[in-house]
Symmetry: D2
Amino acid sequence: MSDMKLDIAHSALLVMDFQTKVVEGYVVDQDRLLSATDGVIAAARHHGLRVIYVVVAFRTGFPEISPYNKVFSALKASGGVAAEIHPRIAPAAGEIIVTKRRVSAFMGTDLDMILRSNGIHTLVMCGVVTGGVVLSTCCHASDTDYRVLVLRDCCSDIDQSAHALLVEKIFPRHATILTSIELIHILKG
Amino acid sequence: MSDMKLDIAHSALLVMDFQTKVVEGYVVDQDRLLSATDGVIAAARHHGLRVIYVVVAFRTGFPEISPYNKVFSALKASGGVAAEIHPRIAPAAGEIIVTKRRVSAFMGTDLDMILRSNGIHTLVMCGVVTGGVVLSTCCHASDTDYRVLVLRDCCSDIDQSAHALLVEKIFPRHATILTSIELIHILKG
Amino acid sequence: MSDMKLDIAHSALLVMDFQTKVVEGYVVDQDRLLSATDGVIAAARHHGLRVIYVVVAFRTGFPEISPYNKVFSALKASGGVAAEIHPRIAPAAGEIIVTKRRVSAFMGTDLDMILRSNGIHTLVMCGVVTGGVVLSTCCHASDTDYRVLVLRDCCSDIDQSAHALLVEKIFPRHATILTSIELIHILKG
Amino acid sequence: MSDMKLDIAHSALLVMDFQTKVVEGYVVDQDRLLSATDGVIAAARHHGLRVIYVVVAFRTGFPEISPYNKVFSALKASGGVAAEIHPRIAPAAGEIIVTKRRVSAFMGTDLDMILRSNGIHTLVMCGVVTGGVVLSTCCHASDTDYRVLVLRDCCSDIDQSAHALLVEKIFPRHATILTSIELIHILKG
């Protein structure tokens, strides 16, 4: 990876589903994940890489949830999840937050519109959980011709074997896999 | 139209772009439009027809607007438009508001997801302007197999000949055209 | 229009629904429409503007048609329409043909994918009928940030007042309106 | 699974990317996969479960492939893949074949349109490879509120640990996992 270059002006860092309740509920080593992600976000801001947050949230009464959706019917029954982003990696003033209603950050949102309107063709992904928002967003992004980078230590899954296999065997079919430290080196040029 | 029936439980009334600034800027006879639309909304609520509002609005700095979009580049240059819905037809507590960034209510929004999640297959449309949000949303809705009704006196366009022609010659290719009074009769059964 | 420039390498000419049966069924002055369109296609090929054809067609038994779609249920009941493009403006070897199942050329097709994969951001539109495929495709293209040009004499509608109003009052909200002769002058540089 | 019911009239069996060259190139135990899939297809036809085939194919010159798409740029460079479906599981007369240009069966195709037009809400999936077409199509289908069943022995991946992990840990988040034998029992009622 050491010779990789990133076209910063046409890239964005996607920070996905880092809501306090998601981090607390699904992450084994919270401090490690939050430290790595916080470091990447700080470096992104310093070097002018645009940071875009994605959260999952619903209107009162959950009108966006189909009774036929297995994942979200269960979430609705459990009372949903608060949209608040973890304070250790909170958005800065003016940073975009995209609110989604399904697993993928593209489904039923204006994310694609925002990315294309700003000439962004490369997406650097962080997210919780690896086998949820990161997987579905990565598959969609690849199929719509974005270049995708996944930061392996800025993703986490309650099932660590699932995380490892996705990062090692599935994501590389669509994406370049990096650590947060590798990305920071690339940003420093 | 007198024998038409509406499957109320699987229908929704879409009230589109009735923002104060849009109504003030583009409607010739504001009182007539607002009275007719207010009457339909009241009847809808009374008879259990779901009311969904659509507004056009942007994040600070307009990151959703492409420099290549003719319509919205002009809007951005003019400073945008306030999202506030006209107080005479304001949403009731709990009614859904969908925020869009383009002309069509479907583009980059969760409207289709909400409609399908609630089993809604028929859309009754009101909007400003006729040749803007109503036209683009009607074309999209028809092509995605919704049954469409357009309330002709609850739509308005700064160009009255354009309004007349769309309502008489173009919309009937995709939709059933009604007046607000006709819809209220249908709702009364 | 005389000082307008076209970025030919990033543009495409869309020739939509020029099927023999559509031309015969919906066009008043067929020779005039076909001559103008044939002239534009020849100039496009000569100057390297990519030509993309769009046709409406269905599999045997019309499995793509919803019983709830007003436009296409009627088409299905009438036996459909042959996909054959009018011989006076037939595709050249290697030119792309996109097959659609609804009014808009974007709905359920790979048109957007093809355009983006080839860096095309400007669409020059011809089609039958003006208030059908041209209108719906123009609205969709504008909302997805393509720059749109409509060739007014290469579009036709069974209703000539509808054609005139769309070309004069509705399309200019989204697009630049040209004649075929004006486009040919622009192509000649 | 023994008490599971399938609403056959509103379901479809998706047979995805079973092209001869894909089966020969990516499947370890071809005979086992083809036997299981052939058995399911025969049972589906016998009991009236609609069978829909999905293949990946391109126009001459690959105009659908973006130079920025990692997966398909590599495929284009290798000369592509023949669209011919393996003769042991060939489509019957009148069965729908959907042609796609990306990994997911929904991307840039009319699959969603066909499914909704026919009232299909449940998808039973077979495909090669598990971590390609099955994974991306499953994620998309779940997020658009289809109920998904994956037939584990009718999917295959060149990487058997990836297949096992997806089927055991990732797909169950979105889908019900069955064997072909279990599905055949359910079809028999």
